[in-house]
Amino acid sequence: MRIPGRKRFGGIFSGDTAGFVFLFGFGFLFTAFFHVDAWRPAVYGSSRVDFPAVLGLLTLCCAVGWRGLLRRGFVWVEPAELTWLDFAPADRGRVVALRLLGAWTGVVAVTGYLASLLLAVGGAGLDQWRAAVAVVAATGVVAFATARRTSLRLDALGPLVLAVLGLAIAAFGLGPVTVQVVAAGVLVAALPMAFGGEPVARAGRAVLLAGWDGRVLRSVAVTFLDPMMLLPPSAPIGRLSLRRPTPLRLAWAGTLGRSRYAGAAVLVGFAVVVAHIAVPTVPGAVLIGIGAYVALTPFGGGLGELWRNPGRRRWLGSGNRELVLAHGLVLAGAGLLWAALLAVVTLAAGTSFAVTAWFAVPLSVLSILRTVTRGAIDYANPAFVDTPMGPMPANLVRQLFRGLDLLAFGLVLLSVIT
């Protein structure tokens, strides 16, 4: 049932801004296929395209997409619909099932697009295309089979195993036939993984409302250009003592409470190494820097919460410098662990990064500290500047990119030095 006044298809065909953005984005993304010769040196350089690495990278992208779908952000129903639509023909279960279908289509479309672009630009043969289709299709099936039901304890392992397979494909230079066998294995694994749990379409009111809250938070964060709202909250950390040195223990507790992001950090580490092999034109420092920033940012959430929430901050009599130092120390420890993992994976994959590229890890730690210690956004003076794309709120953008500015500057510097 359609609620009067609501736009159909997310407003894409309303003739409004959303429609323009969709058409512009669609056109921009597909223009690349008409200029593959121009893109080839930019993506792969002058060297021969390492197709096993490209297929490995694609497998990793599929693993990331699968993991994203397992977060089940599509399981939500608006409270007003839960309140008013009990007698409407559209059951809430059907609404959630349609949203699952939409989210899954999105993941398959993105991975499919990436596969097509990477292979078309590389000038791949039919075998590589078959292997890529097999990987995308098999991951699509296993992602759907697992995301359609409630979460199980070992679910998070699935994308990690797929990432390891992607790394193995790249490291051992496995051919397209072997990749198809791997894809068949993934397809077989989907069968037992599909069982257990309950269909998410049967989720109860509490779960649907929690999903709705998450969605509201995400849309507010995007609307108000404030991604720091999305810093993940900490899970309970048991009976860990917070006695002196309290700031250091609180920082440690915050990191432990976000340890659920360790799997994602490992996934990112794998992706950095495989991307280094598959796309040699991107400087190693850039890959490590962006990877470290993405992998470690969730662990900066504890400090970010103290900065954003004066009510929490008042529980602590410590000064700002002491808090930043304590959280920085723990974050640096996490960065060191991530760098160690990256070093092991790099060695295992038979590749290497320049010594200077490793400085991107401490640079990312500093950038994250700078990002999460941003004050509340000041919307009073957006300072619009004319650009070829239209007016840009320069003052808002400056605040939005706090932390990322340091990362970008440092990475350019490191890339030049390397």
Binding site: I237, L242, G311, W315, G317
Partner: protein
């Protein structure tokens, strides 16, 4: 301890209050009363340095209030609308935060929690608490930590009858320890316990 002379705050074209003199000495409790929207919370924010009055001057603990200053925050304890707790921590861990970061001996943490009516929940994460239990935890937090000034904005909210009695006791303990207490309230027993009452209208 709190000394405000001739302060005025404007909301748009309208003056919420103007030319207001207000003072509270150590060991005293002052209550602020008045209907919704009259400026009680605004006045409290002025005392904490979150809002600057357009007119007059305020001194809290001998200096201009500035909540960005850690020394000021250490002296002035507040319960405002934006007060919060760590949903992932237990009440015991909250008290450890206070004692560890303020460098103060709060006494036996378990006794404090039993006194606050949270004895049964001292090892349960605060995210699972009811509204009243959350309020008790926040009140315990602002009164157990060292403070020379205590600012409470409608502290009685969400408390049951026993909780409101406990609140009156808490304020009495704070004033007995030499703190200057300001409480914006609609709770009559708090008015009776106050040394002075400021009525805004």
């Amino acid at each position: 301890m709190i000394d405000a002379k001739g302060i005025g705050v404007r909301a748009g074209e309208h003056w919420l209050f103007d030319d207001l003199d207000f003072s509270v000495d150590p060991g005293e409790c002052a209550a602020i009363v008045g209907p919704n929207g009259v400026g009680k919370s605004t006045l409290m924010r002025c005392f904490y340095g979150m809002q600057k009055p357009q007119r007059g001057r305020v001194l809290v603990n001998g200096k201009a209030p500035d909540e960005r200053d850690v020394e000021f925050r250490r002296a002035v304890s507040v319960l405002f609308d934006d007060s919060d707790f760590f949903a992932e921590l237990t009440p015991l861990q909250h008290l450890e935060l206070l004692s560890g970061s303020f460098g103060a001996d709060l006494g036996e943490h378990e006794d404090l929690l039993r006194d606050a009516g949270l004895g049964e929940r001292m090892r349960v994460t605060a995210g699972h608490f009811s509204a009243g239990q959350r309020r008790r935890l926040l009140l315990l937090g602002v009164t157990a930590r060292p403070h020379r000034v205590l600012l409470l904005d409608e502290p009685e909210r969400a408390l049951d009858v026993a909780g409101k009695d406990w609140l009156v006791e808490l304020i009495a303990r704070s004033t007995a320890a030499g703190a200057a207490v300001v409480v914006a309230t609609h709770h009559p027993p708090l008015l009776e316990a106050a040394d002075s009452v400021l009525e805004l209208w």
